[in-house]
Structures are given as C-alpha cells and as structure tokens.
C-alpha cells in the first residue's frame, strides 16, 4: 500500500474512533448528570422517610420509657413513661410510675435534643434468630409424633450462640441484651434525624439524608467529641454537609389514641335500624356471622399517642 493510501486509512480510522469516543463521552457526561439529579430525588425521599421515623421516635420516646442505666450489660430495669404530658396529672413528662422524671438535663427534657443516625446495628439488643419453624409438625404417618404440634425445641432462640442443642448456657446473655452496636457498613452515611423538644409536647424535627450523622456543624461535632466519626477532618464534614439534604418540621404530640370503635349487628339482625340492641362486632372481628359483614376496626394497638399536626419550616428555626 502506498504512503498516501496508508495516510488516508489512518485518518478515516482516527476520525471514526474520535467520533465514537465523543459519543461515549457525551453519554457518560449525560448519565452522570442524570445520576446526580436522581440522587437529589433519592435524598429528598430519604429525608421524608426520616420524618416518619422521627414521628415514630417521638411517639415511643415519651411512652415506652428509658433504661435507667444503659451502660450496664443488662439494661434492666427499664422504666415505662406516661407521655410527654403525663396522662395522669397533666405535668410535663416523661415520668416513671412513681412520678419521677425520667431525665435530668438534656434529652428528653424540654430544650434537649436527640441526634439519631439511622445506620443499622450489626445486631440489635435482644435479637432472636430468624428461624421460622423450630418445631415442624412431623408429616411421616409411620411415626408416633405424626401430626402433633409438639414444642420439643426452644422457640425462639437468641441470635447469639447459646450452645443449643448441646448444653445451653447463659454466658453470652450480656451480649444478647446489649446487641452489637457496630454499624453495618452498607447502611452508614445515608440518613438521620434529630428531635429538639421545644415545649412539653412540641418538637422540631430535622430530617437529613447524607453523611453528617445529624450534627448541625463542626463545632457541635467537636463539642460532642465525635470528630473521630469524620477522621478528625473538618473538610470531610463540610463536604458531607454540602451534599446533604435537610428538612425542618415542627410537630405536636398528643396522648390521644384511636378510640375503640365497633360495628353494629344491624345487618345481621335484619337491618330494622329502629331499636337499641347493643350488639356489636368486637375489635378486629373476622370470624363472626359468616357471609355477613364482619367489619370493625382492626389492628389499633396504639398506646403511645399520636401526632396532632405537622408543619414544614422553610428555614431552620433558632434551636434545633
């Protein structure tokens, strides 16, 4: 092949390759841009999920109570609370059964703030194994246990090893009670919420999707002695903060829960609709009066109160 022809070929090949490379680059840039925009939607969604989580936390934190000494291997005794506004006397709670406040300073006292990064623990406290059937019913008709639902093996069993089925011991009971607080790596840096108690029943909720673990700023990180979470690097925190989505809300707790509500037997009794008969379906009825209505309220085991209202705060409030 002559030199001019070789030159022509190389020009054509180089041109085609450059064209393809340009197209690929354009695609990659566009996809990266799309990915970044999609991340923003994901972050917004995740932050809103944190609003639900924070409301659930507020509901439970005033009622389910607190461990008196969470530093002990076995966190008992656990003291139940009676609401953010004590349902017994209207005083500011949460208080224990004897009326003693379950706080001193800081959360859950008025003015206190709870910071809740939402990574998963490797093993939560009191975790049990996920085995579904420890005692399957024997299906062999030739054996004497056929068809009997015997409880021959312990059910459930702890997630930590207890030496079953040889010689069961309680040497790891402390681990079972305390759990393993180390975060699962795939769940870190994704979302968090924090709750600031403004008054007896009003809270400012901050919902976050990002990797700051809920700390407001670097000075708070340092004040709480948590700089190690960011490798002691203020710039790392600043970058996490810049990529983060934060939403602020004000909410109000109420002691009110769903009332017991019932369904009359009118349809079953012929629907005369004219006389008192005081017959009701019970709660969660499912087996009454086959072929007729069985409706009544289901699943209302709500003993921790409700959230009266939610208000978005378009700017961060003074204290959160």
């Amino acid at each position: 092949m002559s030199a001019p022809r070789r030159g022509t070929v190389i020009i054509l090949v180089a041109g085609a390759a450059a064209l393809m490379a340009t197209l690929v680059l354009a695609f990659l840039v566009r996809m990266r841009s799309d990915g970044e925009e999609s991340n923003q939607v994901v972050r917004d969604t995740q932050a809103r999920i944190m609003l639900l989580a924070a409301c659930g936390y507020v509901l439970e934190a005033g009622r389910l109570g607190y461990d008196r000494d969470p530093q002990l291997p076995d966190p008992a005794p656990h003291e139940e609370g009676y609401g953010w506004i004590d349902v017994r006397d209207g005083s500011t709670g949460p208080k224990d059964r004897d009326g003693n406040a379950l706080y001193a300073t800081g959360w859950p006292a008025v003015g206190g703030t709870a910071i809740c990064p939402m990574h998963l623990w490797r093993r939560p406290p009191w975790a049990i194994r996920t085995t579904v059937v420890y005692n399957p019913i024997d299906l062999d008709r030739n054996r004497p246990d056929w068809g009997f639902p015997y409880l021959t093996r312990p059910d459930p069993q702890p997630a930590v090893d207890n030496n079953w089925p040889t010689l069961v011991d309680d040497s790891r009971y402390g681990d079972f009670a305390a759990g393993d607080a180390r975060p699962r790596p795939t769940s870190t840096g994704m979302s968090w919420f924090r709750v600031h108690r403004e008054s007896a029943a009003r809270f400012v909720v901050t919902c976050g999707a990002g990797a700051t673990n809920g700390y407001a700023d670097w000075s708070e990180v340092q004040a709480l002695g948590r700089a190690a979470e960011f490798g002691g690097d203020e710039q790392a925190f600043a970058e996490a903060r810049a990529a983060e989505q934060r939403l602020w809300y004000r909410i109000e707790w109420s002691a009110a829960v769903a009332p017991s509500d019932y369904h009359y037997y009118d349809n079953e009794l012929g629907g005369s609709h004219s006389v008192d008969q005081y017959f009701f379906h019970p709660m969660n009825s499912s087996q009454t009066s086959p072929s007729r209505s069985t409706r009544s309220m289901m699943r209302c085991p709500n003993f921790v109160g409700t959230i009266r209202w939610v208000q978005r705060l378009w700017e961060p409030p003074g204290a959160w």
Partner: protein, 384 residues
C-alpha cells in the same frame, strides 16, 4: 508511454465498494444521531419526571395548589359564607369563629363556656382536662328507647334546654359540659369536615346531644344530633341537597350511633377541593356545601356517578411546564387530599405523555408532610 487506465471492471468494483463504504458510514452516522436524539429525549423525560416528583413533594408541604399565600387570586378556600356563618378550609379563624369567654392573653384558664379556637387548645395541653372528655352513651342508637337514661343532660350543645321527647319529658336542665360539643360544631362550621377532623384529636367521638326540635331530621328524641350519625341526613336543614354525596356518616351498615371515624367513612371519603377544571365554577355556596359532605369512594361506589366526579373535583392535574417545547413530554402533577377509614391520604401522581407515541405512564404515591393545620399555621390563619 501512456499510463494504463482503469478497466471498466475495476471502475465498477471500485464504485460499488466506495458506495458501500459511503452508505455504511451514512447509516452509522444516522444511527448515532438518532441514538443521541433518543438519549436526549429520554434524558429530558427523566429530568421532567424528577422535576415532577420534586414538585409533588414540595406541594405535600406547601399546599399552594389549595391556597397560594403569594397570590390573592388563588385563595378561594379562604372565603366565608356570612349567611350561613360557615368558612372553608383556609378561612382565617378570626373571621369564621368569633372567640368568647377567654382572651388571647389567657390561654391557661379553661372554662366550659369558652367558645372559639384557642391556639393553645385544651387537647394539646392536658389529657386530664375534664372538658375534653366525651360524655355520652356510645352504644345508644339514634332513635333510642332511652333504656339507659338521658345522657343529653350531662353534655349538650346548649347550656340550658328543655328536654322533651315522645318517651317522656324531662324538663328544663342546665348542662354542665358544653365545651366539647361546641368545639365540634364550631370546627365543622369554621373549616368543614376535613378541617374539623384535622383539628380534632385522634380519639374524637363524632357526635353530641342537642335540643330536640320535634321535627325530623334535626334531632332524635334522645337528642342525638342526626347530622353525625344518620346517613341520609340533609345537613342544610332540608333546604339543600349535597352534591353527589351524603353528609357526615356513610351508610355502611346503617350504623346510627355516635362513634369515631373508622366506620363513619368506611365506604367514603372526606376531601378538600382545590381549583380544577371541573369545579372552576363553584361559588362559595357550593364550596361550603361540598366541604361538608362525604363521597362514596369505597365498595358500592359507582364509576360514573361517584368516582369520576370525585377525581375530577378533588384531584388536581396541573401541567408542570405549561409553556414547553413541543418535543418535550407533557408532565402533570396531581394531588388529592382526603380522609378514608380514618386515614389521611395525600395521593400524589406524576403523569407523563410522550409527544411522539402518545403513551402515558404515571407514578403514584402517598406523601407524608405538612397537615392542614400546619399549612394554616404557616399562613397565620389560626391567630385570634
């Protein structure tokens, strides 16, 4: 010596090969250009869908489709019907519900004769506050035989009344507990059903006793107010029918006793009505009535009579980008706020239509965020 020319066969082969190379190159470029165009179109579509999602999320908190604080022409739910003395979900409470018996400077002294909305309201202050307790016979039917006595004398809308009935007259009584019935009636009048439910606590029993008028359907002889418990009760005292919907209680099981929301709207919904094409002509009279009735949206509802009108009047369908290039897909953001089976539902939809194929797809989800009361507080509508 003259140079040798190409033979005819050489020229033909060279031309064929050259043409093939050119066509291949053209096809390749054309495919690349189409790919770029398709990718651009899909990227634009995805970007618009994301923008639609963001707009829906924002609307869940902002409520601007229902009431735009920055645009007085988009505040029709702030109107007030002075004739009936009834408001709408965004009517300022100082307009729709005149306070009496307390002052804004004193939010801690509670009396049964307090009227109007106190932003430091009793339910949020103390569950032990006796005036927040519902007093009545929960199992008593509307037309009861009063076998367990007259509960109307313990709690009533009226502070003093002559209790009469075909079952026997009781006489004049002064009623000790009137705050709770008047809060329920006041919120109903000030905000409509959705707003009333939003402001009442979760354990509210919807119903109260009031003076027996002797004329069905005002009250029954037990003094149970028909409005809350009787499905076919006409709320406007027989002078008007609600539009495509009954009043507070649906007819599920014809359960005529005072109760909470679960069975009251088992088969139906209470909704808010933002401006839509289907309700653009509603005047304040119709808006007041529509915010005080329930719509059948559960079992037994009819597609044409119930569901389609409900969707047309209660669900927005706003174009995300009204003035867009013709090559862009049409993206609409919808929201419908309603209560059914005691659940608050903010149904959001993002719908997009391809300008080329006409195909339509949608994402629908239930959003959680600012409640009606939160939106009103954000606008300062609850201030005395």
């Amino acid at each position: 010596m003259p140079e040798r020319a190409f033979t005819l066969i050489e020229v033909m082969i060279a031309s064929a090969l050259g043409l093939t190379v050119c066509l291949t190159a053209f096809a390749g470029l054309r495919a690349a250009a189409q790919s770029v165009s398709l990718a651009e179109r899909l990227a634009t579509e995805n970007a618009l869908i994301r923008a639609g999602m963001n707009a829906a999320y924002h609307e869940v908190d902002a409520w601007r489709t229902y009431d735009d604080p920055a645009d007085a022409t988009r505040q029709r739910l702030r109107q007030y019907d002075a004739t009936r003395r009834m408001g709408l979900p965004f009517t300022p409470l100082k307009t729709s519900w005149t306070p009496s018996g307390w002052s804004s400077a004193d939010r801690t002294t509670w009396d049964e004769d307090d009227r109007g909305w106190n932003s430091g309201e009793a339910w949020s202050m103390d569950a032990t506050n006796a005036r927040t307790w519902w007093r009545g016979n929960h199992a008593e039917r509307l037309r009861t035989d009063l076998r367990y006595g007259r509960y109307a004398i313990f709690s009533n809308l009226e502070p003093s009344l002559n209790v009469v009935s075909p079952a026997g007259d009781y006489g004049q009584v002064d009623v000790a507990h009137t705050w709770l019935p008047n809060q329920l009636a006041g919120l109903r009048d000030a905000l409509g059903y959705y707003g009333m439910i939003d402001y009442m606590p979760a354990n509210a029993i919807y119903g109260f006793y009031q003076a027996y008028s002797g004329a069905y359907p005002w009250t029954s002889w037990s003094s149970v107010s028909c409005e809350w418990v009787q499905p076919d009760y006409d709320w406007d005292w027989g002078t008007r029918r609600s539009y495509n919907g009954d009043t507070f209680s649906n007819n599920d099981g014809y359960t005529c006793h005072m109760r909470s929301l679960y069975s009251l709207n088992y088969a139906s919904s209470y909704a808010l009505y933002p401006p839509t094409a289907a309700n653009a002509g509603w005047d304040v009279d119709l808006l007041v009535r529509e915010h005080r009735c329930q719509k059948y949206t559960g079992y037994g509802s009819d597609r044409d009579r119930d569901m389609l009108p409900f969707i047309a009047t209660a669900m927005t369908a706003d174009a995300l980008v009204p003035l867009k290039p013709t090559a862009w897909p049409q993206v609409k953001v919808s929201i419908c706020r309603s209560i059914k089976i005691r659940r608050f539902n903010n149904l959001c939809k993002v719908t997009w239509t391809s300008p080329i194929t006409g195909d339509t797809a949608e994402l629908s989800f239930s959003g959680f965020g600012t409640t009606l009361r939160g939106a009103r507080q954000d606008r300062g509508l609850d201030l005395p």
